[in-house]
């Protein structure tokens, strides 16, 4: 059993980490921190864990030494504090946006300030196993990509890598309210947030920089909040290069994902669920990707879906940990999702 700690355990990502790690046969959760709720039971905030644990939050300064440590929220406002906490973990998984962009200039453009700890950027390995599995086997600092970025990268990368599409792609991301975290404001009140199709990022959503960095494509991203709690879907418009056939596109996906445990290619001609549908993935670590192609016009629609808190966050972190520790990658990630739902 290795010892795991969670910094920021009371948030939504923290809750999912707890759910998965409590069910992990190789891991003991030794601490989850919360500044606000130190001393309170974790099942007070995560009621699905009632009966599974007697753990209570500890204050960050009480964090013990850990084998693996998960950071769930940005800690850049206090780089020294972060360094102190990070030193208590042999391997650190960072789920915040802090270390996702390799280039500090990109960070500046998208986050509106200088990166306070650029020295961390070089060491951080991206926690997307499908692209970085080999690096993850030895990484001591892992930065998990954003939820819509993960879906987009997994949907686009096989095509980009095989040079089947032109560079410019437009990404239309749709995301549920849990994407805003547990501390969202008045605009996320149920009466305001229900039933919305809220175009909250009309142009230039931050995740587009992550997509471009990972795939080399020129991504332009819009994001809409939809009336769901969990779930991300990205609908991407791309243009195939001249001569590209549907068979070539399928072949690229098949080559990329035939042996991946958590990516399925969903592009069917019949049935109620022909393309990736996030509702089928709630609680699961799958990212489903699919496409539709019109060879005549070379219009290509690429679709990705996942649960933002699982494959879009905590699940990617646990999968990365499994890789890092040399365990079966699927450990504690077996839940396949539900239907009907």
């Amino acid at each position: 059993m290795i010892r795991a700690g969670i910094v920021g355990g009371a948030g939504y990502i923290g809750g999912e980490l707890l759910r998965m790690l409590l069910g992990h046969p190789e891991v003991e959760v030794v601490a989850a921190t919360s500044t606000r709720l130190s001393g309170r039971r974790v099942d007070g905030t995560h009621p699905n864990l009632r009966g599974l644990t007697d753990l209570s939050y500890v204050a960050p300064e009480q964090l013990p030494e850990c084998d693996v440590l998960f950071f769930t929220a940005s800690s850049l406002d206090d780089p020294a504090g972060r360094a102190g906490l990070a030193a208590r973990g042999k391997v650190v998984f960072d789920l915040s946006a802090d270390l996702r962009l390799k280039d500090p200039a990109l960070y500046r453009r998208h986050y509106g300030r200088e990166h306070p700890a650029p020295e961390l950027l070089a060491d951080a390995v991206s926690g997307l196993p499908e692209l970085h599995r080999e690096h993850l086997r030895t990484a001591d600092l892992v930065s998990v990509p954003g939820c819509m970025a993960s879906a987009s990268i997994l949907a686009l990368n096989p095509l980009a890598a095989a040079d089947l599409i032109e560079s410019r792609v437009t990404v239309d991301g749709r995301v549920g309210s849990s994407g805003s975290g547990a501390s969202a404001g008045e605009m996320n009140l149920h009466s305001e947030r229900s039933n919305v199709l809220r175009v909250f990022a009309p142009l230039g959503h931050r995740h587009q920089a992550e997509i471009s960095q990972a795939t080399g494509l020129d991504a332009r991203m819009t994001a809409t909040g939809v009336d769901a709690v969990r779930g991300v879907q990205v609908v991407v418009r791309a243009t195939a290069r001249p001569g590209v056939t549907e068979a070539a596109i399928r072949a690229a996906y098949r080559a990329a994902y035939a042996r991946e445990p958590f990516v399925r290619v969903i592009a069917q001609k019949r049935g109620n669920y022909r393309f990736p549908e996030p509702k089928l993935l709630l609680g699961s670590n799958y990212c489903d990707v699919g496409f539709a192609y019109d060879a005549a016009s070379r219009e290509l629609l690429v679709i990705g879906a996942l649960d933002n808190l699982v494959k879009g966050g905590a699940g990617n972190a646990v999968q990365s940990m499994n890789i890092r520790m040399g365990w079966d990658e699927r450990t504690a990630l077996g839940f396949p999702g539900l239907h009907p739902i």
Partner: protein
């Protein structure tokens, strides 16, 4: 299970050895309906289109 390439998407289609002529099987990858048009050799073809409308 015998494997055959789907004529729609080229995905692997699993066909039970005891499959009958004219039986319909589905491709797991694209869910196309496929008909067994010959058993030996095994030949599968797209079943006559029963186009399902999925519009709104």
């Amino acid at each position: 299970m015998l494997k055959e390439a789907c004529p729609e998407c080229t995905g692997d289609v699993s066909v039970a050895p005891e499959v009958e002529l004219n039986e319909i099987v589905e491709c797991a990858e694209c869910m196309a309906e496929l008909e067994i048009v010959s058993r030996e050799p095994l030949i599968i073809a797209l079943a006559p289109e029963t186009e399902e409308d999925w519009g709104e």
